[in-house]
């Protein structure tokens, strides 16, 4: 491989920094084609992107913290107070 090719292509280190923008559709047309070009040629980066997707998937299964019954009771009390205020 010539050094010219190396410098115009994305490196893996650059690739990993673009993953979030890529997944959010935030890359320019040109950036996206460089990103996808690298992705198609680099199994390691494909694995990295897959791991980010897996991370998002696992995070999505976490349950958000519920409101405690005490806190909810207080909030409802405040609501009733507000409602009955003149």
């Amino acid at each position: 491989m010539s050094t010219v090719t190396e410098t115009t292509e994305l490196s893996c280190q650059e690739f990993v920094e673009l993953v979030t923008a890529y997944l959010d559709g935030g890359l320019t047309e040109r950036e996206r084609s460089r990103f996808e070009g690298h992705l198609g040629a680099c199994g390691h980066c494909a694995e990295y992107l897959e791991q980010i997707r897996q991370t998002i998937r696992v995070t999505g299964t976490l349950r958000a913290e519920d409101l405690s019954p005490e806190a909810e009771a207080e909030l409802l009390e405040a609501f009733r107070g507000w409602r009955s205020a003149p």
Partner: protein, 214 residues
């Protein structure tokens, strides 16, 4: 559901519909808590900030004009309430954490995992490549606990953004509006958060069970 019917919801709240209020307060509790905790030091104070926020929301409901979504409006009120409370607590506000996350560059993946920039053939290419994560362990309770702990260990602004995006399923635009973040900063916070959680997941799932692979 709620976004589509802001007008109806506001009408219900103004009319004193307790059930509408109860649903809203439940649905937004977790994200309100995450956002409040960007600014105030403890869970207990964050809960108080949420109480104050709802009081302010109710008090200002007649002035809500629907120019922003109800969600954005409520979260902006929360942020202001939390900042005021943080000042009263004598806390230095982490403005920089929200507004200039670019201050200190943080790599998504540690530089030591790549070949050095002066490598003659493949600068910046993987030296220690990511390995396959075992799909069958991905959603196991222990794995999810690892992910939860990794999120809890994040700086509060990163924790808030990843919670809103990936736990609550908000869009980037909703997060930007609620937290008054630029597109770039929202993305930087999410990027760093996901990268750290991924690293924790990789560490846990590829930890050698006895033999070390080179």
């Amino acid at each position: 559901m709620i976004e589509q019917s802001d007008a109806q919801l506001v009408t219900a709240l103004r009319a004193g519909d307790e059930e509408a209020y109860r649903l809203l307060v439940r649905e937004w509790h977790a994200p309100l808590l995450r956002v409040a905790q960007i600014f105030v030091p403890s869970r207990a104070i964050a809960e108080e900030v949420i109480q104050d926020t709802w009081l302010r929301v109710l008090g200002a409901l007649d002035r809500f004009e629907g120019r922003s979504s109800l969600k954005t409006w409520v979260f902006r009120i929360l942020v202001n309430t939390a900042k005021t409370r943080a000042q009263r607590e004598g806390r230095t506000l982490p403005f920089s954490a929200l507004e200039e996350p670019g201050g200190v560059p943080e790599a998504a993946v540690d530089a030591s995992r790549f070949l050095p920039a002066d490598h003659e053939r493949r600068p910046g290419h993987w030296q220690t490549a990511p390995r396959d994560l075992p799909e069958e362990r991905l959603l196991a309770g222990e794995t999810r606990e690892v992910v939860r702990r990794a999120i809890d260990a994040l700086p509060p602004s990163q924790r808030a953004v990843i919670s809103l995006r990936d736990v609550e399923g908000w869009s980037g635009e909703e997060v930007r509006n609620a937290l008054d973040l630029s597109e770039v900063n929202q993305r930087v916070l999410l990027h760093r958060a996901r990268a750290k959680v991924r690293a924790a997941l990789e560490d846990y799932l590829t930890a050698p069970a006895g033999a070390e692979s080179a």
